[in-house]
């Protein structure tokens, strides 16, 4: 059996302009691989929200996307401040984003809920002062 296809991206925490680039690349790669539109869309949206969160809340990190025959797995890992109350953070509308971020159209508190809605499984592993790792899978077909 061949090893599953894996993509790795470093997410620059300083750069708002390039935020989302990894998701756009993943979208393109999955399209070239011939995945259904709806699968690509869910992966792209879930990953983009995660990527933006890493830039806004965690000074960047890395993302890894692994393509299995039956699912796509997205791992987002940062060494940011961690999430104090995951249940609260998951609530639609909850956000700690500063005003300047809101003026860019982010910080609506819908990122984590969007990630949940667009993935089939989502696990948040977070520790205050250590960082956050979010693992999502999107089923194919």
């Amino acid at each position: 059996m061949t090893a599953p296809l894996r993509f790795h991206y470093d997410i620059d925490g300083e750069n708002f302009t390039s935020a989302g680039e990894a998701s756009v690349k993943v979208k393109k790669s999955l399209r070239q691989l011939g995945f259904p539109q709806e699968v690509i869309r869910r992966v792209a949206i879930a990953m983009y929200e995660g990527e933006i969160n890493m830039v806004i809340h965690a000074e960047g990190g890395w993302a890894e996307v692994t393509v299995y025959p039956d699912r796509i797995e997205i791992v987002l890992c940062d060494r940011g401040p961690g999430i104090k109350d995951v249940e609260l953070a998951m609530q639609a509308g909850y956000s700690t984003a500063p005003e300047q971020i809101r003026s860019l159209g982010f910080g609506a508190g819908m990122g984590l809920p969007n990630m949940k809605a667009n993935s089939d499984t989502m696990v948040i592993d977070t520790k205050i002062g250590v960082g956050t790792t979010i693992t999502m899978t999107v089923n194919v077909g």
Partner: protein, 114 residues
């Protein structure tokens, strides 16, 4: 003719719109969505829709790409920086602008494609 699916170019011809960049002119406009909060747009905008917004930073291009909207229509005369337009061009995102406020803009687009 009133009603039915139109291309972005047809929309441009019929409404007070100006193209800021038009890398994919033959895209069908299948409906519309309006909003400025990017996560809401990500959660709701559907492929092929026209996205009406007053947001004008580079992240608009990423969201338009990921949602696969047929075009971004900037309301109230909003435009994009040349750098951002360059990105839009390379990502095949059509960007139009209109002097109309978002509500009136949606009404006119809606009348045409309904």
């Amino acid at each position: 003719m009133i009603g039915g699916i139109m291309t972005v170019t047809e929309l441009l011809d019929k409404l007070p719109l100006r193209a800021l960049c038009l890398p994919d002119p033959d895209r069908d406009v299948t409906g519309g969505y309006t909003g400025d909060l990017l996560s809401w747009v990500m959660g709701s905008a559907q492929p092929g829709q026209a996205w009406v917004t007053i947001m004008s930073n580079v992240n608009v291009v990423a969201v338009a790409t990921l949602c696969d909207v047929s075009c971004v229509i900037l309301a109230q005369g909003v435009t994009l920086e040349p750098e951002v337009l360059k990105t839009a061009e390379s990502k095949l995102v059509n960007v139009l602008t209109s002097p109309l406020p978002a509500f009136e803009l949606c009404l006119t687009v809606g009348e045409l494609i309904r």
